[in-house]
Amino acid sequence: MKKAFVPLLLLTAAMFAYAPVIIAHADYESTMGLVQKVMYFHAPSGMVMLISAVVCGVASAMYLWRKNPSADRVAIAAAELTALFGLIVLVTGPLWARKAWGVWWVWEARLTMSFVGWLIAVGYLFVRKYGGPGSDKLGAALAVFGTANVPFIYVSVNIWRTMHPMTTVVPTLQAGMRGAFWFSALTLFMLYGLLLTARIHLERQRAALDELYLAEEN
């Protein structure tokens, strides 16, 4: 991964630079027009947020029961990225909703769920930052609970009427939009992978530095 990092970074940067072109050339949605193009970053960010939350939950479980310190580094990196991509979803969503539905926010299933998920991720980061000694285990337990909670939040909020398009909309996208959508999605997935790798690396360096300090003191 170390050798591939810089080329992949350059490739992702190039893809980001090209993304506006391909998005501009994609077909216009018939009723929403230009504003629908928010989708190309909004929906993939939502996907990344969900993937990242699952990564964080699994890594936390591994840390909690196997006491594997590298799993903890993955967990904190994934939690930060869940919060980051969640923020992108929560900012781009209302921008789109204002034009498409006429309101900034509605309290329906998917929106409520993203908001709650984002709050849990931010709560995790707060625990890690302000929790004091033992906050790593506390955070891990929180992440495990948060991940186990996702299906319940999904079921309970989904029983209310859903206004947001279902996930089934993605495979049924028109041919003129599909290419741009998956291009944007791939770009964001690569960005996620790179950020995660960089963040885990930083955490590993930090742990190594702490060890050196301890050795020096002894």
């Binding site: 409520t112 929180l142 609970f145 939040i153």
Partner: protein
């Protein structure tokens, strides 16, 4: 042995509480203040808004429960007794269960006062299906206590525990609150929507089971120093 340890922890907490009644009284008064505050927002021209009572009831339980959780573990921390409890040659899971049952019991007592009061003040027909209401309240309260006791126990050593507990607990209990409120609303409608209420109760029960298993599993791992 497991059950006996749990009941011993429960009896210990119960005995302390019976002597001082500090947590019960403060929690109850706090719940009443919550109801008062909500009455400002959810009453228009003397008439309570439709379905407001269910939400007020559950939010009052959640807020008061958070306060009770904080106080219960603060008491252990103050006396440095939590360490003693954990050092005791007893199963950690049993200690957790005892603590959790104490919270359930305390909140149940609060609910006995709170439910008729909310029904009275907000003119809600809460007692149309009393048995279903009791089951719903019990399932919701157990779920809340299961997650709450675990988080409060974990946060005992954290400096920022007072603010961290609600920050962590509220998003985590969102599905419990939705199920509780929606179930209560279903019970107060005319005619009573028993089918929906049963659906929410079964959702709550499955959450209780999953959360309890996870909590028993994590408590041991989290409370080791």
């Amino acid at each position: 042995m497991f059950l006996r340890t749990a009941l011993l922890v429960l009896r210990k907490d119960f005995a302390i509480e019976v002597k001082s009644r500090e947590i019960l009284y403060t929690t109850l008064l706090f719940a009443l203040s919550c109801v008062l505050v909500f009455s400002i927002a959810f009453v228009r021209e003397g008439e309570p808004l439709e379905d407001a009572a269910a939400g007020i009831l559950w939010i009052a339980i959640e807020f008061a429960g958070t306060l009770a959780l904080g106080r219960t573990f603060e008491r252990e921390r103050y006396g440095e007794t939590l360490r003693a409890l954990l050092l005791a040659p007893a199963s950690r899971a049993a200690i957790y269960i005892g603590k959790m049952l104490g919270i359930v019991l305390l909140l149940a007592v609060c609910e006995v006062v709170l439910v008729p009061l909310v029904a009275l003040l907000f003119r809600a027909e809460l007692f149309r299906a009393p048995l279903l209401l009791v089951v719903l309240l019990l399932a919701g309260t157990i779920g809340f206590a299961v997650v709450g006791s675990l988080f409060a126990a974990m946060l005992v050593r954290a400096r920022t525990r007072d603010v961290m507990l609600p920050i962590l607990l509220y998003p985590m209990t969102v599905p419990l609150m939705i199920a509780g409120v929606r179930g209560t609303v279903a019970l107060t409608h005319t005619p009573t929507d028993a089918a929906s209420a049963v659906m929410w109760i079964s959702l709550l029960t499955s959450m209780d089971v999953v959360f309890l298993v996870l909590a028993l599993w994590t408590f041991e791992a989290v409370m080791t120093e």
